[in-house]
């Protein structure tokens, strides 16, 4: 469990990135922090592994105040995945995946064996192991990033817009892969994104943030969509733009689902085939 307790972050020039933020992130679940750029979501994420220290307030991991843990060992037991993967271009894929175990002094053979397992887990072929990151596609690099985040078997995985820089098809693939991995591993995931569709796809708990990391709403994807707390949330979801109020429309080619503007959003599935979750 991660707990933010009246956390604030302000900078010497007077900007307040986070103002009095309090929230509990349950263990073994995915919490998505979603909001426009500059709302303070990345600042919150980086407070967990002390890349940023709060000006006031406390961040707890279980019963431990992170301010009492030295940053370097703290970071080595928390997985971190970032946009554009942030891989080390001068190290082969397998060494990138094994970065943290190697830093922790795990023997190379052991670290590499574990890295190969993780590569398989995230859907990377073993032949990629000896390549350099720049020889991989964006989607593959991102998979390496996820495998690297998992390498030291951390309880917590911090993900900062990890799929923001890949094209929509690959992004959907990576999201599905993350859900599958999470069903297997049950990590406590903190996921930052500005894409509400991504938040709804991945989150057990969704936190919609306004400026200064003010919590506009916390809830399950169902709750957030069914009962937006206020006009800000409704607008963020796209309700105002007609993207979330869907209608059925009969056409000669079958029953379509359309949005408020009549744009096709999909087709009605066979009732005999229920949704996956």
């Amino acid at each position: 469990m991660i707990r933010f307790d009246h956390v604030s972050k302000s900078y010497p020039d007077g900007t307040e990135a986070v103002r009095d933020f309090t929230l509990e992130l349950p263990s073994g679940q995915t919490t998505v922090l979603v909001g426009s750029s500059g709302c303070g979501k990345t600042t919150l994420l980086r407070m967990v592994n002390r890349m940023i220290d709060p000006t006031s307030g406390t961040v707890w991991i279980d019963d431990e105040n992170v301010a009492d843990v030295a940053p370097v060992p703290l970071r080595r037991r928390i997985g971190y995945v970032m946009q554009n993967a942030g891989l080390l271009p001068h190290r082969k894929v397998i060494d990138n995946v094994a970065t943290v175990p190697l830093l922790n002094g795990v023997p190379k053979a052991e670290a590499h064996a574990k890295a190969l397992e993780l590569m398989e887990l995230v859907g990377l072929e073993a032949t990629m192991a000896t390549r350099y990151p720049d020889q991989l596609s964006g989607g593959q690099q991102q998979r390496v990033g996820v495998a690297r985040g998992l390498a030291a078997d951390p309880n917590i995985l911090l993900m900062d817009e990890p799929f923001g820089a890949v094209d929509p098809l690959v992004r959907a693939d990576l999201q599905a892969e993350l859900l599958r991995v999470q069903r297997e591993l049950h990590k406590t995931i903190v996921f930052v994104t500005h894409d509400i569709a991504e938040a709804l796809a991945l989150g057990d708990q969704i936190v919609i943030l306004a400026k200064g990391a003010a919590i506009a709403q916390v809830g399950s994807p169902q709750q957030v969509v069914a009962e937006p707390a206020d006009a800000f949330v409704a607008d963020f979801l796209g309700l105002g733009r007609g993207a979330f109020d869907l209608h059925l429309r009969e056409t000669p080619n079958g029953t379509l689902v359309v949005d408020d503007h009549g744009r096709p959003a999909g087709r009605l599935a066979d009732p005999a085939k229920p949704a996956e979750n």
Partner: protein
């Protein structure tokens, strides 16, 4: 050609002395430039001053510098230490900026992700920033290497033994073959050295070619 054949041992000896002056200077300017470049990069206020000061070193005419240094440090004009010190200063003039640029070329995402992985500040420098600065460092080092090998010859005007003596001596005695030999061997040395550096870069940084 007959002059070259007749004087092979002498040419060989001068080539060796030439190398013994150039190599330590190249190595020293490389090693000293890295902390200076790091400092200029880390403490932004010092960057302009430091880089300008380094660049101005290059504006000091070389012959007077060879004569001036002994006055400051107290070693003899023809001493090994004097020549190496002067050449190192010129090397630094070029290399400090290269080192600062090289370290600055390491992207913020990589720095941040290494920090997030749990690299300590020093392990991040040695294992991430310095290797990634490699290609730009190498580019700077190649210029320093060529420039130093050529600059060594100036010290021959003071009577220091190196390839420059061939054209000083050849000029005074009117032996064209000796003058040409001095120039050709100096250029050859610079070219060979440059090639070795490129080769070394390929061996040490196989990843750099994947980047393009």
């Amino acid at each position: 050609m007959s002059w070259v054949m007749a004087n092979l041992p002498m040419i060989g000896g001068r080539t060796l002395s030439h190398l013994l002056l150039a190599l330590p200077a190249i190595l020293l300017s490389f090693i000293l430039a890295i902390p200076l470049g790091w400092f200029a990069n880390t403490y932004r206020w010092s960057r302009t001053t430091l880089l300008t000061a380094a660049a101005l070193l290059y504006a000091i005419p070389s012959l007077p510098l060879f004569v001036m240094l002994p006055a400051i440090f107290g070693f003899g004009v023809r001493e090994f230490a004097n020549v190496v010190a002067a050449l190192t200063l010129y090397g630094l003039a070029l290399m400090v900026r290269s080192a600062a640029d090289a370290l600055a070329s390491v992207g913020t995402p990589v720095r941040q992700s290494s920090t997030a992985m749990g690299f300590s500040a020093s392990s991040r420098f040695w294992q991430v920033e310095l290797p990634l600065a490699g290609p730009v460092l190498l580019a700077g080092l190649r210029v320093v290497s060529v420039s130093t090998i050529s600059l060594v010859t100036v010290s021959s005007l003071l009577g220091v033994d190196n390839l420059g003596l061939l054209f000083v001596d050849g000029f005074q005695r009117g032996i064209i073959a000796e003058v040409i030999t001095g120039i050709v061997v100096t250029v050859l040395l610079a070219v060979i050295f440059d090639g070795l550096l490129v080769l070394l870069g390929r061996i040490l940084m196989p990843w750099a070619r994947a980047r393009r």
